[in-house]
């Protein structure tokens, strides 16, 4: 398809993204695996963009992994979602911002179901009354956290200290973007750019100076598959999906991967380690992997935040080669320190995958 055609499709999939006053609901996966990304999102929204963002201490999981693990019935999931809406209504907010793509998909699915089946909404309202006594209003706007960063990508670019450009060659970095399946595969009109040409991350990458890699398995699932990863016996499914993507992207020699889903960055990071241990294969240069980032980590990095404040030390694939390409300033000796410089030791080096630490020890 030619560029004009793509632009015409994108035009049809421009969603409304609220401008301010956000009710933030957290991601179970990110809180455990990539907590620095949620911390960074709130920091950027409040401090860089000057927006109001509120988090209710009593909000909970939307039950998403349980729902898609099929242990949580649909009525139960919808009533838990209704309770989140009630907390938002009581707090005086109407713009919901989920941190999680599974949650974003669930909120979108619930509203779509209620739109087509008003009797289901009535039943859920009654369930919520019976269980909690709460009432709620339907959100005026639901935008995934990546939609917010997308909306303000130009403002972030104007404040940024760095660009997605190789400082030595002056060329744009080659960036693989990976969109969480439930962002727009279920409801294409609810995602920026739709399902075939989602623009939410592309918009950030282009605005921040990078070049998007268009590779064959670009839209393939990372392989989480809920029960397919959770249960050990099924994990072959999960690693096979990620491996298919790596094999497909490697010839394009990407400098980095950016994702907008909670699980995908963790899987694309950890499965590179697992493949290196199982097959001795690595997908980056010199035995290293392709570093994987969340959009908040990238935004924060370009804004000049300390990579170790962003949480890049919890990645298995070393991020330093990418930081060095851009010329980001960082202190390698502080990578694994806790608060007040508490010594937390260091992770062991993998057997195959080369990390910054193992490179360092080789050079000593």
């Amino acid at each position: 398809m030619n560029i004009e055609g793509k632009k015409a499709i994108w035009k049809d999939y421009q969603k409304d993204i609220a401008d301010d006053s956000y009710f933030y609901v957290r991601s179970c996966v990110r809180q455990n695996f990539l907590p620095g990304s949620e911390t960074t999102f709130i920091r950027i929204v409040r401090e860089e963009l000057g927006k109001d963002i509120y988090e209710h201490p009593c909000h909970t999981t939307c039950t998403g992994i349980g729902y898609h693990g099929d242990i949580v019935p649909v009525d139960t999931m919808m009533t838990v979602v209704a309770r989140q809406f009630a907390l938002m209504t009581e707090a005086g907010y109407e713009n919901l911002v989920p941190s999680c793509i599974t949650s974003f998909g669930i909120y979108t699915e619930v509203l779509d179901t209620w739109h087509h089946f008003p009797e289901v909404e009535a039943r859920v309202r009654e369930y919520l009354r019976m269980a909690t006594g709460r009432e709620f209003k339907i959100p005026a706007n639901i935008a995934h956290a990546s939609d917010i960063i997308y909306k303000f990508r130009k403002e972030i670019a104007t404040k940024a200290m760095y660009k997605l450009i190789n400082k030595n060659t002056g060329k744009p970095l080659k960036v693989v973007e990976h969109i969480g399946c439930h962002y727009s595969k279920m409801f294409p009109e609810k995602g920026v750019g739709g399902a075939e040409y989602p623009y939410v991350l592309v918009g950030m990458i282009e605005e921040w100076g990078g070049e998007v890699v268009d590779y064959p398995e670009r839209r393939h699932c990372c392989g989480f598959g809920f029960r397919q990863y959770l249960v050990q016996a099924n994990r072959g499914f999960s690693i096979s999906c990620s491996r298919k993507k790596f094999e497909s992207m490697q010839d394009y020699e990407p400098d980095m991967i950016i994702t907008n889903c909670p699980g995908c960055p963790m899987f694309l990071d950890k499965w590179q380690y697992a493949i290196s241990e199982l097959e001795g294969k690595t997908y980056g240069k010199d035995g290293m992997g392709i570093p994987v980032f969340t959009y908040e980590e990238v935004a924060g990095m370009l804004l000049g935040y300390d990579p170790w404040d962003l949480g890049m030390q919890v990645h298995q694939v070393a991020v330093e080669p990418l930081l060095d390409k851009i010329g980001v300033s960082y202190d390698a000796s502080r990578k694994y320190l806790g608060i007040n410089n508490k010594n937390l030791g260091q992770p062991k080096s993998p057997n195959v995958l080369v990390t910054a630490k193992s490179l360092l020890s080789e050079s000593l």
Binding site: I71, D75, M130, Q232, A233, G311
Partner: protein
Amino acid sequence: MGKLFDKLKEDVRFVEGFTACINCGTCTAICAAAEFYNYDPRLLVDTVQTQNDDYIEALLKSNTIWYCGECMSCKTRCPRGNVPGLIVMALRSLSQDLGYFVESEKGRQQLFIKRVIGGWILNFGYCLYLEGIGTDMYAEQGPVWDWRQKNWSDVLARLGANYKGEGPGILRKIPAEALDEIRRIFEVTGGKVRFDKIEESSEKKAKEMNLKFGDGTDNEYFQHIFSYDNQNHNKE
């Protein structure tokens, strides 16, 4: 029209996701599970649309309905507006409600998900609550995860979390009254009934399989369903 087909029609996801399938196979072409497993969503939908009780019962008792990863790529592509992923979700719910899920190796894994994910939801208010979940069960998490587990609270604090703290924030302690509301929602909406049914059916099956059954994760049946693979599920 069969009784099981009627039961499926009570699930709003089935009503949303099922119209006449023209057997084009687009769903199978795009399906991540069909690439890996001996699985074909086109055949699954075709079986359901026979409305034949015997066929649907066999499906509910089979591994077939447990291969899907619910990525919902099929929803984007079906030219008839079918959603095999939603049909699978309705089949899985019915299979558990009827206790049929324990008749397949993949179905029996539901006890693992119920106890682990379900336990975290009801006890902590999160789908995941990973302190202490190590590379013994999740080897691919690797040495950085080992380091994180060793320094769980310190790393969370370093990255701005409010672990087990009052008020908002990452992995905060969700107040008891909020957890009570979640538990009441499970009671009112059928979540507790589903959980109880998974336990009850699993216990019966463990006896039949002559595997020791107990609470928690440290028992023979639980360990078996977590790790056993008959090596017969994948494409050649």
